[in-house]
């Protein structure tokens, strides 16, 4: 089916459904909750581009296939090999470490920036615009730029030897992980600051006015009003960070290529290496499934722990 016919069908469907709902409203029937059909375009899309490939990947993980020739099922071979593969386990830990570092570094900075940007200070709009510039750059461009800036011989480290020593940032494990975390902060803080800005703007002013009357200073206001009020925003932002962190790929590909050695080989990069560098699609699929399982478990845990599934309001009693 071409894109155009899909579009036409969706449009026709939408029109038909709009007609039906309006009729119902006019008839004063039960609430106008949209029917299942409304979810169809998204569901079909999800089925075709998410669920089906996922199933195929699951099948592939029990086979040996190099992209040419015939698929050969080899039972659990890929999985037992992965279980014995030190890089696999290490890549999961590296992924988790980078994700955790991302959350820990990005959250405080973006909360402070976002809350500040929600205010009405002079110059705020101009400075905010500057802060948000990284948001406009592609991850690839960001990585290439930082690679050049951090070049040990011709970049910043060459000028600041008292700080960087020999500038071997990407050649040591700690250095490479530090660089990836730092670039992550630079790249993603604007997005999260934007989210927090929106969240902070939505906090009712009366709370601050009441607190001011009670004699609370700015710090206390921030700790006792802003932060609790931002709870749902924090959860949203952290979940975005976790998902983003677990699937980090482009910065690793360009900045470190998983090196030195395999020190920054995150799971998604390991999957890429197996499938598209070594043409071992079976093992690559197995690695991908591991990532899916790990990411799902972590997302579930975050949702459960944070109470995101209940999403209590923050304006009760106002």
């Amino acid at each position: 089916m071409t894109r155009r016919t899909t579009g036409r069908m969706t449009r026709r469907m939408t029109r038909r459904m709009t007609r039906r709902t309006t009729r119902r409203v006019r008839a004063g029937a039960e609430a106008t909750r949209p029917g299942v059909v409304w979810a169809l375009p998204a569901a079909v899309f999800f089925l075709m581009f998410a669920l089906t490939p996922l199933l195929l990947v699951a099948v592939l993980s029990f086979a040996s296939w190099d992209g040419i020739g015939d698929l050969r099922f080899n039972g659990l071979d890929n999985w037992t090999a992965l279980a014995d593969d030190p890089v696999m386990l290490q890549s999961v830990w590296t992924t988790l470490l980078l994700t955790a570092l991302g959350v820990v570094t990005q959250t405080p900075i973006s909360i402070l920036l976002g809350v500040w940007a929600a205010g009405k200070q002079r110059n705020r709009a101009v400075l905010s615009a500057v802060y948000f510039v990284p948001l406009l750059l592609s991850a690839t461009a960001v990585s290439v730029v930082w690679r050049a800036v951090l070049d040990p011989n011709f970049g910043v480290p060459a000028e600041l030897t008292w700080l960087f020593g020999d500038g071997n940032l990407l050649g040591s494990k700690a250095g490479a992980i530090g660089v990836l975390t730092f670039v992550g902060v630079w790249q993603f803080t604007p997005l999260h600051a934007l989210i927090y800005q929106g969240g902070a703007r939505a906090i009712p002013q009366v709370l601050y006015q009441a607190a001011a009357v009670d004699g609370a200073g700015r710090v206390r206001q921030f700790l006792h009003i802003t932060l609790p009020q931002l709870r749902n925003t924090i959860i949203t932002s952290v979940i975005l960070m976790v998902v983003g962190g677990l699937t980090t790929f482009d910065t690793v590909l360009i900045l470190t290529q998983g090196g030195p050695g395999t020190d920054t080989t995150v799971t998604s990069y390991y999957m890429y290496q197996k499938a598209f560098k070594s043409f071992d699609f079976g093992t690559g699929s197995a690695v991908a499934l591991v990532l899916v399982v790990v990411a799902t478990l972590i997302s579930l845990a975050v949702v459960r722990i944070s109470g995101y599934d209940k999403m209590r309001g923050t304006t009760e009693g106002l």
Binding site: G67, L150, P152, N153, F154, G167, G171, G259, P260, S278
Partner: protein, 430 residues
């Protein structure tokens, strides 16, 4: 090591970026002849490939169509397309391990019949080059670009200032390292971030110490070769060089592909760099003045007591055209391949800086952009008792990542000799 080619001519890949990326698979409309699709790596070299295709089409009933895949993802895209109805008839490759999976899958046509009809398809090429596209005793490729031996480049001025001459032996190299270090200059520039430049040091030291046989044995499936005494000696030599501070300490943060390591040499902050012959054009692009007057080169130093001949070279022997078994016009493909040793082909390749590996190349070397450089290289390749294809090209693609990782880790000390040997033994050989 696709990135080597990419690095050579990144910019020019854009020139042909607009031409059709994949074979359209549609040749039925041509009256009489039909078409063969020729798939090549998209870069500056396409100028010549286009010219040769035009020449071919002037006389042939079956018309050749040149398809280019721009960028460094050639191998990936080839792998995707090769077993489909859109597969090309003739395609560019690196010989050795790069075509081994296709041979195993029964997709490629052995060229024995072509050669039986026209012995020139074999005899007109340097044997050391032709042989790197021989898989399981059968030839599968005809050289179609230039050879790229790895040379030890140096900055003439830096060496002169330190009172040194280009080292001919290993001991001279070690002495030069000490002298340069004393002057605060990084002796050898290395783009360790790319990993494959590091591999070149292994390729040459294994050759000089153990001779070319050790690697051939290991590649043939005898993994014990990696654990042999010669192998350990080679590793000890590498360790000695690294520990002497020959590469400085931050080589893993430097890349060749982003211009980092060549800039160190051009600016006189490092003295040597071991790199493929494309290094000359890399420097010509980035630092034309340095390339003209300051850039020197020698072969890799000899090592007394080693089993390898000091004239042995390693590197990319050449690129090759291979033919698919299911091609509908094999005789047209054969006729097309014959052009790869024509005078026109040799002249055209020389004019863009490539060094073809045909036996008639010496007749035309004066046409080269830098005749002295081309002549030296040609002599070197012709005289070499062994021309070892880069390890990561000789092994099948599945070995590349673990090999690069092991090489990098041994260099920076994360793996010791035992760890390196273990990693190399575990590489898949077929």
């Amino acid at each position: 090591m696709r990135s080597r080619l990419a690095a050579m001519t990144v910019v020019t890949a854009l020139v042909l970026g607009t031409s059709a990326a994949c074979g359209s698979g549609d040749g039925s409309s041509d009256a009489g002849g039909g078409t063969i699709h020729v798939l090549v790596y998209g870069d500056a070299g396409n100028k010549v490939e286009k010219q040769i295709v035009d020449t071919f089409n002037k006389t042939s009933k079956v018309k050749a169509v040149l398809d280019t895949i721009p960028g460094a993802d050639y191998q990936q895209k080839l792998q995707t397309v090769i077993n489909t109805s859109r597969a090309p008839d003739v395609f560019f490759n690196w010989g050795g391990g790069s075509i081994q999976p296709f041979v195993k899958a029964g997709l490629l046509l052995p060229l024995d019949d072509f050669i039986a009809k026209d012995p020139g398809l074999k005899d007109n090429f340097l044997p050391s080059v032709f042989n790197s596209a021989v898989v399981d005793g059968k030839p599968y490729g005809v050289p179609m670009r230039g050879t790229q031996p790895v040379l030890l480049f140096h900055n003439k001025k830096v060496l002169a200032d330190a009172g040194l001459t280009p080292p001919k032996t290993w001991d001279e190299l070690l002495a030069a390292v000490q002298a340069l270090k004393a002057k605060g200059i990084t002796p050898i520039s290395l783009g360790g971030g790319d990993q494959w430049p590091t591999l070149m040091w292994f390729e040459y030291l294994y050759d000089r110490i153990a001779g070319p046989g050790l690697f051939q044995k290991a590649l043939g499936g005898d993994q014990e070769a990696w654990g042999s005494e010669d192998s350990r000696k080679a590793l000890a030599a590498i360790r000695q060089l690294v520990d002497a501070g020959a590469f400085g300490s931050n080589f893993d943060s430097v890349k060749f592909t982003d211009g980092g390591s060549p800039a160190l040499v051009a600016k006189g902050r490092a003295a040597f760099e071991l790199m493929g012959s494309w290094y000359y054009s890399t420097q010509q692009d980035a630092n034309p003045d340095f390339a003209k007057s300051g850039l020197g080169y020698t072969g890799f130093p000899s090592l007394s007591g080693g089993k390898g001949d000091a004239a042995d070279v390693v590197g990319n022997t050449n690129n090759f055209y291979s033919v698919l078994k299911k091609s509908k016009h094999p005789e047209a493909a054969a006729a097309f391949l014959k052009l790869m040793y024509s005078d026109e082909f040799v002249k055209a390749q020389l004019s863009i800086g490539n060094l073809p590996t045909t036996t008639n190349t010496p007749d035309h070397l004066d046409l080269s952009a830098s005749p002295a450089y081309s002549k030296d290289q040609y002599q070197m390749v012709k005289a070499a008792p062994s021309f070892q294809l880069s390890w990561d090209q000789a092994y099948p693609p599945s070995a590349m990542t673990p090999m690069h990782t092991a090489v990098q880790q041994f260099f920076n000390g994360a793996l010791d000799a035992d760890g390196f040997i273990k990693a190399m033994r575990a590489l898949p050989t077929s």
